[in-house]
Structures are given as C-alpha cells and as structure tokens.
Assembly symmetry: C2
Homo-oligomer: 378 residues x 2
C-alpha cells in the first residue's frame, strides 16, 4: 500500500451481494464482515485473542467513551488503541455522535458542532467534526467515521432535510480535517431518514466529496425491518460500487442477511455481546434464553452443529447454572459463542457469494429461521 | 493405581519443607500445591483452560454452594463435576461446613449434624457427616474432606475441647461413610483452636482412624500470623510424614512460604481470585491497587519479571482504565495474573526444596517482601 487511503477489492458478486477484501495498515478484512463492538477499549467479557479466534478481523471502538476515559491523548501517548487494548488487527471508530445525541437534554447542537456533559464527571465537552477526526487520529483508528447528526425517527421530511444537510456540511469538514495516509481511511455517512429523495441527495453529496467508504446511518433506531430494507434498496445503488458499504449498528442475523443481499459489506452491532451478558445464546434458527429452567438438566451443547469452544465443552445445564448463579463465566462463554455464531454466519455468507449460491444460502437461512423461532424457545 | 486411596510420595525434603507428588484418578499434583477456589463450579472470571495454563493442577470446589445449586444429584446425572465445569484435572471439595457455620443465626447444630437455611431460597437443609461425604461422592471429588465444626476464635479451652471432640466424632463417621476406591481419598481435619494439647490430641485421634491426608483447620480466621505458625509448629510434627498435609483457607504469599517451611503441602485460598475482581494485583514484594490514579499513564506491565499473558500484553495504564470503567476484562486479566503469580510462587518453592536451597528462597522472598511493601504502594 503506497497510495493514501484503504484499498477495497470486490472479489465476487452474486446479485447485489458482494464478496470483497478491504486492506488497512493493520491487515485485511474479508467482507461481508461483522465488527464486534469494543466500546471502552475492550470487547466486553472477551480476551482479545479469543475475539480474533472467533474469526473477527476488525472491531469497532467508541470515540465518545474513549475520549472521556482514558482520553484519546493518553491512548496516543501509550502507543495508540491497538497496542493499548492488545488488538493488533484493524479498528474502525465511530465519530462519537451517536452516543452524544443519545444524551438528550445534556447536549446542545449548533452549526459548529455539539456541546455535551460527560456522563462520567459532568464536564462540558465540545465535539466538532474536526475534533472527532482528531480524536480518531489520536486513537490511530484505521477507519475514521465522519461526525453526523443522528436524525430522530419518525421525523418530518423538512426536519430530516435540515438534519441531513447539516450532516453533509459536517462530512465535508471531516474530510478536510482528515490527514490522508496509506492504510487509513475515512467513511462518509448517508442520512435522510426514510425519504428516498433525501437519501439519494445525501449519497450524491458524499460521493462528490469523495470518501474511502460509505456508510448508511440513521437506521436500526426502531424502524421496522422492511423500512430499513427500503432505504437500502434506494441508497446502496447510489453508492460507488468500487467502495465498501457499511450499515451502521445492524443487527440481528436476519437483518444482516437481508442487507448483504442489498449490497452491504460491513456491519457492527452490540447484539451478540450484550445478549451474551444477559444470558441469551444465538443458535441456528433462533436464540435460547439460558435463564429458562428447562435447560437445567439438559446435557446438550447450545448448538450441536457449532464448532466453538463453548459448544465443544459445556452443556446447556452448566450454562444455565452459571447464569442463575450470576457467574462472570456465563457472560464470558455466551459472548464467545455468540461472536462465533456471528462470524460463522459471515463466513457462510462470504462462501455462498463466492460460489454463486447466495440465494440458496438465504433460502436455507430463512427456512431455519422460520422453523427455529419455535424450535428454540418451545 | 490399584490400591484404594490416593498415593503420595515425598520426593525431597529441605528442613521440614517437602517436595512431593500426589496421584489421583484425574492426574498428579506436584506439592507444595496451591488450589484455586472454584466455588460454584467455576474459578470466578476464568476459563478453565486458562486456570490450567497458570500451572494449577488441582482446584477446590465448594460442597455448600453446589449442593444447593445446581445440586449434587444433578451434577452426578450430568457426569460429575469435572465434566460439568470442563476441568479434567483433580478436584478437592470442602465439606460444606465452613459456609454453613458462617450462616450464624440461620443454622443450628447438634450431635447428628447441622440444619441450616439455604441462602438461595430459605429452604431448610440438613448436613450430616454422612450427607457431606455422599454429596462429595456425587460430585466425583478426588479428595473428600470430613465435615467438622468450625471453632470460633478466640474461644475458651473448654469450648475448644467440646468443639474438637464433636469434630473428631464426625471425622470417624465421615471415614465410615466414605467409599474407598483407587484414585480417590478422604482427608481428616485437625481442630483444637490455639491450644497445643487439643491440637495434639485431635491429630492423634485422626491418625488413629486413618486418613489419606491430614488438614489443619480452624486457622486463617482472624488470628495473627505468628499464632497460626505456632499451631503449625505443634500440629505438623504430630501428622504422619508419609501423608499430605493441607492448610485450609491459607493464604497470603508470606503465609504460604512460612507454612511450607513448617511442613505443609497443600493450600487453598480465595485471595488471588477475589483480589483480582477488586482491582488488586500481586507482584513481587507486595501488591498494586489498580484503582489508584498513579497508574493512569504507566506503560509498564504489572511485573516486568512475570511471564504471564497479562504482563506480556497489557500496561498498568490499561488495567487501571478497565478497573475504573468497571469492565469485566479487569477482573479477568487481574485474576489470571494473580493465579499465575501464586502458581509461580509454588513452582519456585518446589524447585528450591528439590535442590536444597529453600532457606535462600525464603530469605530472598522475605527481603523482597520487606522492601516491596513500600515499593509497590509508594
């Protein structure tokens, strides 16, 4: 890599679905890819080597959390986020915007950026597009995300337009602030809520500025799945085919399969990790609530067809016991299994696209899912 | 192993300190040995393979916790405790007595045994010497401990005698109830508080009954270290040299070194695991409180001379950050380091006894400890 930015190669396509490879200064990422979330410099309840062993090639770090504690400046002095958290593969960081906007009445927004109160010590902090890029640079993030305004849902078209236009001005400022270098990139984020015209206009403006990749934002915030898919049907065709497409904050396994079918290459979501810490296990065709007493004498693994360490070595009875006893190992093992489930799903998706059988893959996945929702929790 | 019971071989001695090997149906244990505590079927915050990787060859399971949840009968049906918790090396179980007696006003004792209220659902449960042995057998414990009464401290000699005599009657009943088989054993427990005559009498009565090993109980309950060492000076010489000597519930690193010097072969304690979950790290010569802000910019590992995964890969600054952020990984990494510290200590002790340099080992340990208490927390 001698060119600035990050390389992306589409290796195969099947319909709109793409099998690709992204190259960064810290290694390659096979796409479609799922990024486990490492909020505060740790994928919760996981040793980083175990995250890598599930097949994850990239994780997401949260700018909001890290800029407040331990601070980006401190992480930079300690050698960057990869070294700090002992994760030596690629890292994508969000802009911090999503968390700041969720602070509701503890933040105020203007053209310059957003001022908010820290949830840790109440201090007033300013986050501008330029500061967000600076923080992500201090973290040594391989993929920087532009600061955007998270448009509420539902929203009027007029408000959605104002919000989108602000985000597009911020995207240009973010790009201008970003220091281009080989193996590092910056992604723009398409906004526009559920309005097709706004989405198309947003995509066009970002393409005009020019980014290393394009994310679809403002989804997975409570809207029904078909509305999310409608937005993808409109938005993805408006994005450059030769650049990666990232659907932010998504999602459940069936969201991911449907989004890959619509041309999405990258995903992140807290679902597999958070579910693991609350006693939920993803299995083919559904999920299991390990708190349920019906597991107490069950010597079967979570999923007999799963190749993970948890399914090889532990019974549902044991996992149920750990959950009931409030043991940390419950969250550790269920998170490990869930991340393995997600990475296996992505591996299956990539293999199916590569050999042109993605439709069959989707049909089989849907059939299992329809049957399994009952099977798993009956 | 064709004889009933467990074999024990003294491989070397240095003064009263012994380097030995205990052989069970699930493998050998090199002594002096430290047993991490796996209370409720898990060494808290640890994957079992990581416990083994620290060098641990045996863990302790708690009869009280397991008999109440998930129940010993359930664990037996699921193939025993080793399989249940995915720990395939030896397991020693306590009798349940210590936890029951700590229930204070929720238990009542008589000649037959003790009746207590479960801390989980308030149910009335009876624990007799015979039931404790039965539960430990259902768990498939390699080393069963007799039920004894935990004598309070301080206590009058008269009360200590009554308590010791009850424990000795219970020890005989425990031995009678124990089903002898190859690779499995039962240990008696010497009581008698801080009274030399009572300790000697208790030891003699246990030896008369005959056990696979002998534990010293009723210590590490608040008494000063020199009182504990005094009891060992009196008690250990009264125990058969050809059988293992186990000091229950001990202790801090200097307690262990002092007890090995007095002829103790086995230890268990929650200190390394519990300390890990509360942000404490053992290092040569003392310990570090990782909550302390002085660590926030410190790029050094916990202990530069430590060979564990935590010291190889993480800075004090990162561990401080995890502790402050309340991340599970803090407890996971600090527990891993602390167990590695304890197992390294035991390895050093064993090597020193084997080559006749245990006095030098102790002198070096004491010197580090005297200097380190200041160094570590200055």
């Amino acid at each position: 890599m001698t060119e600035p930015g990050i390389e992306f190669e589409v290796l195969a396509t099947d319909g709109k679905a793409r099998r690709g490879r992204l190259s960064t200064a810290h290694g390659d990422i096979n796409t479609p890819a799922f990024m486990p979330v490492g909020t505060a410099g740790t994928v919760k309840a996981m040793m980083p080597e175990d995250v890598a062993a599930t097949g994850a090639e990239i994780i997401l770090g949260n700018t909001y959390h890290l800029m407040l504690r331990p601070t980006a400046e401190r992480i930079a002095k300690l050698g960057g986020l990869h070294k700090f958290m002992n994760w030596h593969k690629p890292i994508l960081t969000d802009s911090g915007g999503y968390q700041v906007f969720s602070l509701a009445n503890r933040r105020s927004i203007n053209e310059e950026g957003v001022v908010f109160q820290s949830h840790i010590d109440g201090a007033k902090v300013e986050l501008t597009p330029e500061r967000s890029v600076e923080v992500q640079n201090l973290l040594d993030s391989n993929i920087t995300m532009v600061l955007d305004e998270c448009t509420e849902w539902p929203v009027t078209e007029d408000m959605a337009r104002q919000s989108m236009e602000l985000s597009m001005r911020w995207a240009s400022r973010s790009k201008a602030a970003f220091e281009e270098r080989s193996g590092y990139g910056i992604f723009g984020i398409v906004q526009g809520s559920m309005f097709p015209e706004l989405r198309r206009e947003s995509a066009a403006r970002l393409v005009d500025t020019g980014f290393d990749g394009y994310a679809v934002g403002g989804l997975a915030i409570g809207e029904p799945q078909d509305e999310m898919f409608n937005v993808l049907d409109i938005t993805v065709p408006a994005l450059p085919k030769e650049r990666p497409h990232y659907l932010m904050g998504v999602g459940k396994p069936d969201d991911i399969v449907g989004a890959v079918r619509r041309g999405i290459d990258m995903f992140d979501c807290v679902i597999p990790t958070r579910s693991g810490r609350t006693g939920q296990a993803f299995v083919r065709g559904g999920f299991l609530n390990m708190r349920n007493a019906r597991h107490s004498d069950d010597s079967k693994p979570l999923d007999a067809a799963c190749s993970c360490r948890v399914c090889a070595n532990y019974s549902r009875a044991y996992l149920h016991h750990l959950v009931k006893a409030g043991e940390m190992l419950a969250g550790m093992l269920l998170t490990l299994h869930n991340l393995h489930y997600y990475q296996s799903l992505m591996e299956g998706i990539r293999a199916a696209i590569a050999d042109g059988s993605f439709d069959e893959f989707v049909a089989k996945f849907d059939a299992e899912n329809d049957a399994g929702a009952t099977v798993a929790e009956s």
